[in-house]
Amino acid sequence: MTIAKSGKPVDEVTLDALRAGDLAVDDVRIHPDTLIAQASVADDHGNPQLAENFLRAAELAQLPDHRVMAIYESLRPRRSTAEQLETIAAELDELGAVRNAALIREAAQVYQARNLLL
């Protein structure tokens, strides 16, 4: 049985539960483990990049919405210095979001070479 991010089994996500005031936003959010499982399905179907995306997503599923939005903003062209990107990467490492941290460090390197840092 698939569970939501909150831990609630998906078959308990019902209209009755909503009526009883027993459904919160995390009850309708995907669990990181589900994304990891979807990653292996993608891998089995000839798309390792999609799998990698789901694994990055599994890491981001732990982060609050506003933090995800803020990191996206930081990655846009000429929004961040190399140090700022490294700070984010370190923070992500700390949270175990190592794939995202690597992505950001890779971005920082290329941004340096292509004049896309702040």
Partner: protein, 749 residues
Amino acid sequence: MTERSPIGRFRFMDEQRVNLDGFAVENPSLGLIAFNSPTDPQPSLVIVDGHVIEMDSRAAEDFDILDSFISTHGIDLAVSKEAMALDSITFARMIVDPNIPRTEVVRLAGGMTPAKLAQAIAQLRPAELVIAMTKCRARRTPSNQAHVTNRSDDPLLLAADAATAAAFGFREIETTVPVLGDAPSNAVAVSIGAAVGSPGILIQCSVEEAIELDLGMRGLVSYAETVSLYGTEQIFIDGDDTPWSKAFLTSAYASRGIKMRVTSGGGAEALMGSAEGCSMFYLEARCVALARAIGSQGVQNGGIDSASVAGSVPGGVRSLMAENLMVMLRNLEACTGNDALMSESDVRRTSRTHPIFIGGSDFICSGFGSIQRYDNMFGPSQWNSEDIDDFLAMQRDWGVDGGLRTASEPEVERLRRRAVEAVRDVYGLLGLAEFTDAWLDEAVDAAGSKDVPAADFMVPLTASRLIRDTNVTMLDVIGALDECGYEVEAERLLAMLHARVEGDYLQTAAIFTEEMSVLSLVTDPNDYSGPGTGYVPTRARQLEIDTIRQQRSVDDLRSEQDGFVTDRLAVLGAAGPASDPRDVVIGVSPATAKAIWRTLSGLTVVDALEELLAGLEEEGCLGRIVRINDTIDLGLIGLKAARLAGSGIGIGLQAKGTALIHRRDLTPLANLELYSVAPSLTRESYRAMGINAGRHAKGATPEPGRNPYSDEAIEARYHTTVVSLVAMEREICDPAAYPESMSLTEAHT
């Protein structure tokens, strides 16, 4: 100096709509070239110690941001040696060879650089592209996407139109806004409307990337599509993103269980003035490789907003389809353009779509404008609400599943009513807005927003502000629907949130059936391997395709005819020859006044007879009506009538309206005058024929009557009816039956 005016033939040609389109001379330096620009790079891939040090003739130290991301993430280095060693024509043949499975072609494409894959696909001719698409798309079952928008962001009209789009079979609905602030209200209204129309409709609200992500996180939309990629670094940066920010965004969507695809399209770089001398197709090859590299499950491409730029150069329309195929070969969901209108000409736009339509794709249109052209806030689409019946007819003509189905008028009216009431009730309960009854009534009936004068433009803006400020999520919308008595719709929207938790619809090319099963590369993989394989519509689906609302059976026509029964035409008894030289016989066909009462022109048989008789009378002749019961052949009917007539002149009249003048000494097919275009005949035509028959009776040689030919497709309009009417004549015709005299009495007053 006076300018010479072109001759009439060219003045006439110049007036045609196709000449409103722009056609460009190929110009590689501006990127105005579809395939194979002289400055497109030669394919290459050099790998040292697992790192790409050269790709497509560019050394790693010169890589731009696209090269950099693609070479690091986008190419399967384990197969690249084998893949890059294949010559392009060999791989092109593998793409279309039904004996080589899709999975094998896809595996090899995974190891190819953008230039390599572009070079191979560029070799495919149009018919080969169709076969390739049939074989290589990800999902077995084709589908289609609708645009639902309007000029005023009217939530009621959006809901009614979303319900309508769902009724017509669209499985994804994309909305957008003329006013950015209206986005949340649009997302809610379209979600509610779609849920009224059908379970499992995916909803998108196309706005700026960060705002769109926010809508997704609140559960107000269920997929994202307008995540744009561009083929040159300059335009990419102008778009305020990098491959890394896009990769992060892609994962952000997945992290919330939201389906997402990216958007690109040939011609965009040329349009924005930075194509770097490359062909549209090569630049698009970079976009598609990047889409795969960042982990997007799919791509919307095929020109999209720049489709008309591609359409302006030689081979451009072919390149649009080739772009779509490239997406399929990268093992991604293909949302195959046919979106922004690329031509003023109905012929050209149909020509542009048709190969994709018959080949089949994950989404034939990445935005069929299911609403009025003027209401389409993406701009007019390649296909619009006025084309829905055409599209359904095309599906039926070719027996092809283009994703649409017919919908009955009463059902659509019911859905539209329920959709506007649901939005009114939910907005009311959540304190977002109030609506007048007049507004509701207008929105239900409206063909477009011009028909909704009662709409208040401030409502969506205020509602959107409240949705944001009070943090309304889809759970709140579902709760409100339920509380207002829309339990079915509440369940449908909750099922969409379930799907988010399950995550199966994140896989490539996922849509939901009406039973909420996911159809995707994983659950419904395309297994085409030649004739007799691949997607075949189920019997039920084939019936949907075949059964359009306009079709008519013989029974339908019979009951239509029954509406025109009259007692003015009555049988007197057996008919015999007469000797009066003024006697002209009007022979009518066997079904006259038995099953057929109205001619194809809309005149009744009685109308036609009245005029024929009056025309004869003008010439001093006596008309006599005789039903010829033993033949349905008009020549024979006329000839038999002539042989009964004292004058030797007869008129033959089929109940469907076709008429001729005959003379007793002629052969059946050699008549004197024939009015063959029955649908265009008028009272005046029959009067003129009566007069001419009278003149023939008197031995004169009148000027023959002329058929009223026109430029209308008379045969398309009437031939199906003719087949049925002839069948009715044949059913009644009795080879042993004698002719009968008939009387025509005056109209009752």
